[in-house]
């Protein structure tokens, strides 16, 4: 068992280690302008990001991202629930929503600069405009997909509308809401960077672009690596939160480890794949 684990562990690590070593060795003697020595990148990375520029570039970026993301989550869920529950609203807004969703958000950067100037609000606006739709559309679909029988049950027990919304519709839609939020997080990071590359005075995106313009290639690579790390960290946090909130969902679909399920349900996987199948 432990040997097996060790082998698995080694298999996971061997390629990254080899690649890193190979790149390190190659870059040390290659003197390639675009690919500076690994040690140099690491040194510059430490110089910049431990912790000189954390306050001036990293924090503003992350704050803008979080602000935009929060607005999108609140707005997307609210409108998603509204549109999910009203067929007329849903149908009437569909073309506009589809258009805005298909419109590449960076195309609106000039518009945002025109309207909001070059400060934080234009960047937040761009992030909201790109991240709102996946959340909205997923919420909408989640709301529409609530089990009819749960709603019947709520009606037969005379549960008032607000309680139905809070205790049945939103929880039932939450797996889809989280799916949308996950998609949006990725988009949000992209838009954070893009919006900082156009008319900005700080932020990671600004830093990366500035490094390139002043030909500080190791610093540019450091910025790219930092963005990768930021993406990893945020998605790690997201998955932790999601797993916690949606534990019931994974349990109900038979995806929790065996020890958490006292009785394994036959047909649980079948239901996950084909919701309309009655588990007889």
């Amino acid at each position: 068992m432990t040997l097996r684990r060790l082998t698995l562990f080694a298999q996971h690590l061997v390629v990254p280690v080899v690649l890193l070593l190979a790149f390190g060795l190659w870059s040390a003697q290659a003197e390639d302008f675009f690919f500076p020595p690994l040690t140099e990148i690491v040194r510059v990375f430490a110089d910049n990001w431990l912790f000189d520029r954390v306050g001036s570039d990293l924090v503003p970026s992350v704050l803008r991202l979080l602000a935009g993301y929060a607005i999108s989550v609140v707005g997307g869920v609210t409108f998603g629930v509204l549109f999910g529950m009203s067929r007329i609203l849903r149908t009437a807004t569909d073309p506009v929503v589809q258009f805005l969703r298909a419109l590449p958000a960076p195309a609106l950067i000039p518009f945002a600069m025109l309207v909001f100037g070059t400060g934080n609000s234009s960047k937040v606006f761009i992030i909201v405009l790109g991240t709102m739709w996946p959340i909205l559309l997923n919420t909408l679909d989640g709301v529409r997909g609530v089990e009819e029988q749960q709603l019947d049950m709520a009606r037969s027990y005379r549960i008032p509308m607000t309680a139905r919304l809070a205790h049945i519709i939103l929880p039932a839609a939450s797996p889809r809401i989280f799916a949308g939020m996950r998609t949006s997080l990725g988009i949000g990071i992209i838009l954070m960077v893009v919006s900082e590359m156009v008319a900005s005075r700080n932020g990671i995106g600004y830093f990366v672009l500035q490094s390139q313009r002043s030909f500080e290639i190791p610093a540019m690579w450091g910025g790219v690596i930092l963005l990768g790390l930021l993406g990893l960290t945020l998605s790690w946090i997201f998955v932790r939160v999601e797993n916690r909130v949606l534990r019931w969902h994974r349990g109900a679909n038979g995806l929790l480890p065996e020890s958490d399920q006292s009785s394994k349900k036959a047909g649980s996987t079948a239901r996950k794949n084909a919701p309309e199948v009655n588990d007889a």
């Binding site: 698995l8 258009f99 000039p110 997923n138 992209i190 995106g205 790219v224 990768g228 996950k272």
Partner: protein
């Protein structure tokens, strides 16, 4: 344990095929004449669009919004019409689309074989996993400065960025698709004496096809985002740069007309790919629901 297959590909990826409507609901509600309902829907949609446009027009004409920033919608569309007739629009669209098509094509050529390989050989997947997981979260746009340095501000730069960005969703969808082949189908094929290569063509590829179609739809959206962004930030010719130029020249109406064009282009591409995806999904809608979203 592997997470449930879900599209983790990032950007706009949420077109939900209508097939996803839970069967039980549809069964209980008896259909009341599908065609008139559809026509009524169309009317409601049209009304929705017209209301939004009318509000924008009114806000601009009545000066609720500053006229310099929000020209009347009618003049935006007049400008758009002029652009269509006078053709500079098609040139810009063509520039953007060419990079988009080449980039996605390259990404598909690279990602699908890699995905099949990683999906069918667990050892390969395990070995490559950390590298993939580290590269994926790097926002492709962060590489714009590098791409500009290496490739200049032409087509190559755009293609590189689009290929890099769309490679990941295609790769992951292919891996999921190949890994998700129904074991019963595989066992059946084996029991009937199909060899490995026959199994690959008869079982693996058809099973993975819907996932790849989904990957392509996601890639189409990301590709356009990257195309426009690289034009906007990197200064390569195309719709993105045209928008930036119009803005800095103070030609607001032109800017809006170009933004509308970009949106319509995105809408067209998205609808086309969603249609392809629905077709690929049709043979097994319930099975694909999770991923399709």
């Amino acid at each position: 344990m592997r997470q449930p297959v879900k599209d983790k590909g990032g950007p706009p990826s949420v077109a939900v095929p209508e097939t996803a409507a839970p069967g039980a609901r549809a069964a209980r509600r008896p259909a009341t004449g599908a065609w008139p309902a559809k026509r009524a829907d169309l009317g409601i949609k049209l009304a929705g669009v017209l209301v939004v446009l009318a509000i924008m027009e009114l806000c601009s004409r009545l000066g609720v919004l500053p006229r310099d920033w929000f020209p009347p919608v009618t003049s935006m569309y007049a400008e758009l019409f002029r652009l269509i007739v006078e053709q500079p629009l098609w040139v810009e669209i063509g520039r953007t689309l060419r990079a988009w098509a080449v980039g996605i094509g390259l990404a598909a050529l690279l990602a699908v074989p890699c995905g099949v390989l990683l999906g069918s050989i667990p050892l390969a997947y395990r070995m490559a996993r950390i590298v993939i997981e580290f590269c994926r979260p790097i926002p492709s746009v962060a590489l714009i400065p590098l791409a500009v340095l290496v490739y200049g501000t032409g087509l190559e730069m755009k293609v590189f960025l689009i290929t890099f960005a769309t490679f990941w969703p295609l790769l992951f969808q292919t891996i999921y698709g190949v890994q998700d082949v129904d074991p019963v189908a595989r066992d059946t094929a084996r029991a009937y004496g199909l060899g490995p290569s026959a199994r690959f063509w008869v079982i693996t590829i058809p099973s993975a096809a819907p996932y790849i179609a989904t990957g392509l739809r996601i890639a189409a959206a990301i590709g356009l985002v990257l195309g426009v962004t690289s034009e906007l930030v990197g200064g390569a010719p195309g719709l993105g740069r045209a928008i930036a130029v119009a803005q800095s020249a103070g030609n607001v109406t032109l800017m809006y007309a170009l933004i509308i064009t970009t949106g319509l282009l995105g809408l067209t591409l998205n609808s086309a790919f969603a249609a392809v995806e629905r077709k690929a999904l049709r043979w097994h809608p319930a099975q694909r629901q999770e991923v399709a979203r």
